[in-house]
């Protein structure tokens, strides 16, 4: 505990924690996105997947995972906000003119807006949980008994163009956040900056963003109509 506190006393430690929590959350997002891709293919498979996760005894494991994810999320945004506020205070008088340095710099629109895209995620995640995890519970009969019809809820939600638009915007911002976050997270953990690793992260960010966009776009295009 003393060592963790010592770690949190410096920006290097705080950023390492931010990087680690961010990367672990990207790991979760890959699984989440892969499961979402069931939606356009099979209503039954999607509901069965959701049912499997929430049935006993897996639910105990899943609850632990959820608590861990909550800790990652909280750790990530608390360190993010603390570090950002300190960063803003590190230059009290702003430049009258400040240009990008060019050359080996990796500064991008994504890297310059991490706190803002992050704050949108901070708002998005609770709303997303309220909409789905804690949203309307429909039941559907299957050969093995009644299961929650999460598929129906997803179709209903994304049929609302405002909801779909909000999700598409939030997902684009998530992609931007991961675009810089993946490579930067590794760098904060002391892994050398390598172009290949950064490019891999950027590709992963785009894949995540497009993968998550599949469900709202599928529904907007008329998918899931019964």
């Amino acid at each position: 505990m003393k060592r963790i506190l010592a770690l949190l006393s410096s920006d290097i430690g705080r950023k390492a924690l931010m990087g680690l929590t961010g990367l672990l959350m990207i790991g979760f997002l890959i699984m989440h996105m892969a499961a979402n891709l069931l939606v356009p293919f099979s209503k039954e498979a999607y509901n069965a997947y959701s049912h499997t996760l929430t049935s006993s005894p897996q639910i105990y494991l899943i609850t632990l995972v959820e608590l861990a994810l909550l800790a990652l999320f909280a750790g990530h945004f608390v360190t993010g906000i603390v570090v950002t506020l300190k960063n803003w205070g590190a230059r009290p008088v702003a430049y009258q003119r400040k240009d990008p340095a060019g050359g080996p710099s990796r500064k991008s629109l994504a890297s310059s807006t991490m706190i803002y895209t992050g704050l949108v995620m901070l708002a998005f995640v609770p709303l997303h949980l309220a909409t789905f995890k804690y949203g309307t519970v429909y039941e559907v009969a299957t050969p093995t008994g009644e299961v929650r019809d999460l598929y129906r809820l997803a179709i209903e939600v994304f049929r609302n163009p405002l909801q779909s638009a909000w999700y598409l915007i939030a997902l684009a911002l998530l992609g931007a956040h991961a675009w810089h976050g993946f490579g930067s997270g590794f760098e904060s953990l002391g892994v050398a900056h390598k172009v290949g690793l950064r490019r891999f992260g950027q590709a992963l960010a785009v894949i995540l963003m497009l993968g998550f966009m599949v469900v709202p776009v599928y529904v907007l295009l008329g998918g899931g109509a019964s």
């Binding site: 003393k2 060592r3 010592a6 770690l7 006393s9 410096s10 920006d11 290097i12 430690g13 705080r14 950023k15 390492a16 570090v83 300190k86 960063n87 205070g89 590190a90 230059r91 009290p92 008088v93 702003a94 430049y95 009258q96 003119r97 400040k98 240009d99 990008p100 340095a101 060019g102 050359g103 080996p104 710099s105 990796r106 500064k107 890297s111 310059s112 991490m114 810089h180 490579g183 930067s184 760098e187 904060s188 953990l189 002391g190 892994v191 050398a192 900056h193």
Partner: protein
């Protein structure tokens, strides 16, 4: 020799406690082969002739190796171009009639003393906190007794090339000193003479960096882009690894 006239919008701040502002001057008789710093000399000669207060700025060697000079020219520390200090920025980089916006390196940890002069004592205090070795390195002959691989020597030299000018801090959106501290930590961490104090050094230097009020590293690499010695951000991994290892082991 043809001369040109440039417009200079330079930050004037009489003292640390007073507000500063950009003031416009036209500088005549500027020759393309003058350095930026020499152009400021010409401006100051004009100001002296008019009986006005000269623009205060730091400079010493004027050959790009001491790290004294430095200001932000047109939004980039040490001005346009790569691998040079402000004294190695030549007026041929500009054309007749150009406007140059000239500001001091800005950071909470680098308070403005006057005009373009900032107090970079924070860097000295970080070095004093641990940027040294206690091993007696002996004479040249003793140095040659210790076998060090060429690749390691090159890495150490690359980090040791840091002249402590502060451009990395000035370029960083967070005014972070991580590239400077990493260079000062890494050049000793690579070499055998740096090992005895390796753990203590990194912890103390990072603690001092925190106290001085620099920001955190966002891994953007603006620092490397403006560094007159083109010091690579790769050294930052040594700082992070040494520090994280030291803290997690309870140093």
């Amino acid at each position: 020799m043809s001369t040109m006239t440039v417009k200079v919008r330079v930050w004037r701040q009489p003292s640390p406690d007073q507000e500063g502002r950009l003031v416009d001057y036209a500088v005549d008789n500027v020759v393309a082969d003058m350095s930026f710093v020499e152009m400021i000399d010409v401006l100051n000669e004009q100001l002296v002739a008019k009986g006005e207060d000269t623009v205060a700025f730091d400079s010493d060697c004027r050959e790009g190796i001491c790290g004294s000079c430095g200001c932000v020219v047109n939004g980039v520390p040490h001005g346009p171009g790569t691998g040079k200090t402000a004294c190695q920025l030549f007026m041929r980089a500009f054309t007749d009639g150009d406007t140059l916006v000239v500001e001091p390196f800005r950071a909470k940890a680098f308070p403005v003393l006057k005009d373009l002069c900032v107090d970079r004592g924070a860097f000295d205090r970080i070095i004093a906190a641990g940027g040294y070795i206690s091993a007696n390195t002996g004479a040249a002959q003793d140095g040659n007794q210790m076998l060090i691989g060429k690749d390691i020597a090159e890495k150490a030299f690359d980090a040791a090339a840091c002249i402590g000018c502060g451009a990395c801090v000035a370029a960083c959106k967070n005014a972070s000193a991580v590239l400077f501290v990493s260079a000062k930590v890494a050049h000793l961490s690579y070499l055998p003479q740096g090992q005895p104090e390796r753990t203590r050094r990194v912890v103390r230097m990072v603690e001092q960096m925190e106290k001085e009020g620099f920001g955190a590293c966002s891994n953007e690499g603006e620092c490397e882009a403006v560094c007159p010695k083109e010091i690579s951000t790769l050294h930052i991994q040594i700082l992070q690894r040494d520090y994280l290892r030291a803290v997690l082991r309870g140093a």
